[in-house]
C-alpha cells in the first residue's frame, strides 16, 4: 500500500532556539585603551641671587660691592657658579699723601669682575635657630677663575673662598661668603700679585 502513508517512522525533530555557529562572536567589543599621561617631574637645580658686601682692593681701600650670581647644582655635593660683581676703587695712599695727583680718573675707578667657580659642600647639616626652628645648611668651599677690570685693563683673576648657606625655605637660601681674588696689579709701577678680599651677604632663589 505504497501511495498511502499511514504513520511517519521518523522521530519528531527538536529545534533548538539558539541554533547558531558558536565559533564567531556575536558582539565585537570595541576596546580603546586610554593613554595615562604621567605629569612631568620638575627639575630644580638652578639658583639665582645677589649679594651685598665689601671688597678690599690692595692699595685702593675697601668699598661697597654688589654681586649677581647663578648657581647650578651638578651633584649633591658639587655645584658650578658664575658671579658678576661691581665695585669702586678708592684713593691710594700715594694719591692722598702726594696732595692731589691722581693715578686714575673717576671713570677708571669703576671695578667690574666675573668669575666661574666650582664649589663643594663640605659640611652639610642643620642649623637650629631658637627653640622651634631648624634650617638645612651647608658649609662650602669654592675655587675659580675669572677676570677683573679696572683702570681700562683686565686682569686674570683666581678666586678662592668659602661660605655658609642656610635654606630658609624650600626655594630660598641665605648665604654669607668670604672670597680672595688674586690677580697681578701693575698700576703702581711694579707688577705684584695682590690679594683682594671680599665679604658678602646674599639671598638666592631656587628654580
Amino acid at each position: 500500500m505504497w501511495p498511502f502513508h499511514r504513520k511517519s517512522h521518523r522521530p519528531p525533530q527538536t529545534v533548538e532556539a539558539t541554533d547558531t555557529d558558536t565559533s564567531a562572536p556575536v558582539v565585537e567589543p570595541q576596546v580603546v585603551r586610554r593613554k595615562v599621561k604621567t605629569p612631568k617631574i620638575r627639575n630644580s637645580n638652578f639658583e639665582v641671587g645677589g649679594d651685598l658686601g665689601v671688597l678690599s682692593v690692595e692699595d685702593f681701600g675697601a668699598n661697597g660691592l654688589a654681586n649677581a650670581r647663578v648657581i647650578y647644582h651638578i651633584t649633591e655635593d658639587i655645584f658650578a657658579e658664575g658671579v658678576y660683581g661691581e665695585s669702586r676703587l678708592g684713593l691710594t695712599s700715594y694719591e692722598r699723601l702726594s696732595g692731589g695727583s691722581r693715578l686714575l680718573t673717576d671713570a677708571q675707578r669703576r671695578l667690574r669682575y666675573y668669575t666661574l667657580d666650582l664649589g663643594y659642600d663640605l659640611f652639610p647639616g642643620e642649623t637650629y635657630v631658637g627653640k622651634r626652628h631648624t634650617y638645612n645648611s651647608a658649609l662650602y668651599v669654592i675655587a675659580g677663575v675669572g677676570a677683573t677690570r679696572f683702570g681700562s685693563a683686565s686682569h686674570f683673576t683666581v678666586t678662592v673662598g668659602g661660605g655658609y648657606r642656610m635654606l630658609l625655605t624650600d626655594w630660598m637660601a641665605a648665604h654669607v661668603d668670604v672670597r680672595d681674588h688674586v690677580f697681578d696689579n701693575s698700576l703702581l709701577g711694579t707688577t705684584r700679585t695682590s690679594n683682594n678680599l671680599e665679604g658678602t651677604l646674599g639671598i638666592t632663589v631656587f628654580f
Binding site: 620638575r42 651633584t75 649633591e76 658639587i78 658650578a80 677663575v145 630658609l168 624650600d170
Partner: protein, 258 residues
C-alpha cells in the same frame, strides 16, 4: 648707583619675610594636590626620607611598602616627596627605582650608571688655560647629536700682556669611544676673534677677524654628570694682512651634563 644700592638692600632685607608669609598649611595637601604631581607607590620594603638632598643629611622618616607618595620636584639625584600624612622629605633617585606608578609600571628614571643621552643631551662647562701666551677663560655649551658627535658653541676671553681678546666659536667634536671613562676626542671649528690692544699712548683700532681651529682633547667622566675636560688646539686667524696668524691654546676645566 647709590639709589640702586639702597633699593637692593631694601629688597634683600624684605625677601626673608616672604619665607614666613608663604609657608603653606601642610594639612591634607596630599589630597588637594593629587592630580598635580606624579604619584608612585613604594615597592621596596621601605623608603628612607632624608631632611635634605644629600646622603649625609640624616634620615628622619621611613615609608613602608605599599604607601603612596607624591613627587614634588627633583634636585640633582634626589626627589622631594610627600607621603600620605603630608610629611615632606628627600628620597634618593636610586632608592626610587622600584617604585610603581598607578599603571603598575616602574617610575621611568634615566640610567644611573652612565650618561643617558636621551635625558642629558646638553653639556656645559668652563675652562682656563693659555692662548697664545695670555691667560684664557672659556665657557662652552655643547649638544650631543649622537653618542659620538656633538656641536659646540664657546666664548673665550683672553687676557694677555699686550692685548686682550674675545672669541666666539662654533665647532663639532667627535669622540670615537664615548663609552670609555677617559674618552679622547677631536674637534674642528670656526669663529670670530676681536682683539683689544693695550697701549696707553696710541690707540690702534680694534680688529675683528675670522678664524678656524682644530684640536684634540680628552674628557674624564668623574661621576655620571660631572667631568673634567682638557683641550689642545691650533688656531689660524685669517687676517687682512699678507700673513695669517697662528696661535696655540691649551686649556682645562670642568663640565656637566644637563
Amino acid at each position: 648707583m647709590r639709589k640702586l644700592l639702597k633699593l637692593a638692600i631694601a629688597v634683600l632685607l624684605f625677601l626673608p619675610l616672604l619665607a614666613h608669609a608663604a609657608a603653606p598649611d601642610d594639612r591634607r595637601r596630599f589630597d588637594q594636590d593629587s592630580g598635580k604631581y606624579v604619584q608612585v607607590s613604594v615597592a621596596d620594603p621601605y623608603l628612607e626620607l632624608h631632611i635634605g638632598p644629600g646622603r649625609r643629611y640624616p634620615v628622619f622618616h621611613v615609608i613602608a611598602r605599599g604607601e603612596t607618595i607624591q613627587i614634588l620636584y627633583r634636585r640633582t639625584d634626589w626627589f622631594r616627596v610627600r607621603d600620605e600624612h603630608d610629611r615632606v622629605g628627600w628620597a634618593r633617585c636610586i632608592d626610587m627605582q622600584e617604585t610603581l606608578l598607578a599603571t603598575g609600571e616602574k617610575l621611568p628614571l634615566e640610567r644611573l650608571d652612565h650618561r643617558d643621552l636621551d635625558s642629558y643631551p646638553w653639556e656645559a662647562g668652563g675652562q682656563t688655560g693659555n692662548f697664545g701666551g695670555g691667560n684664557v677663560n672659556a665657557v662652552y655649551l655643547s649638544y650631543a647629536l649622537n653618542p659620538n658627535l656633538s656641536a659646540e658653541i664657546a666664548g673665550e676671553h683672553t687676557i694677555g700682556h699686550n692685548s686682550d681678546s674675545e672669541m666666539f666659536l662654533f665647532g663639532l667634536a667627535h669622540a670615537p669611544r664615548p663609552d670609555w671613562r677617559v674618552s679622547p676626542f677631536v674637534d674642528l671649528g670656526t669663529g670670530v676673534i676681536r682683539v683689544y690692544p693695550k697701549t696707553t699712548i696710541v690707540a690702534p683700532p680694534q680688529k675683528r677677524e675670522v678664524l678656524g681651529y682644530y684640536g684634540v682633547g680628552v674628557k674624564w667622566y668623574l661621576t655620571q654628570r660631572f667631568l673634567f675636560r682638557a683641550d689642545y688646539r691650533a688656531y689660524r686667524i685669517l687676517t687682512n694682512r699678507d700673513q695669517n696668524e697662528d696661535r696655540n691654546e691649551w686649556k682645562a676645566g670642568f663640565a656637566f651634563f644637563f
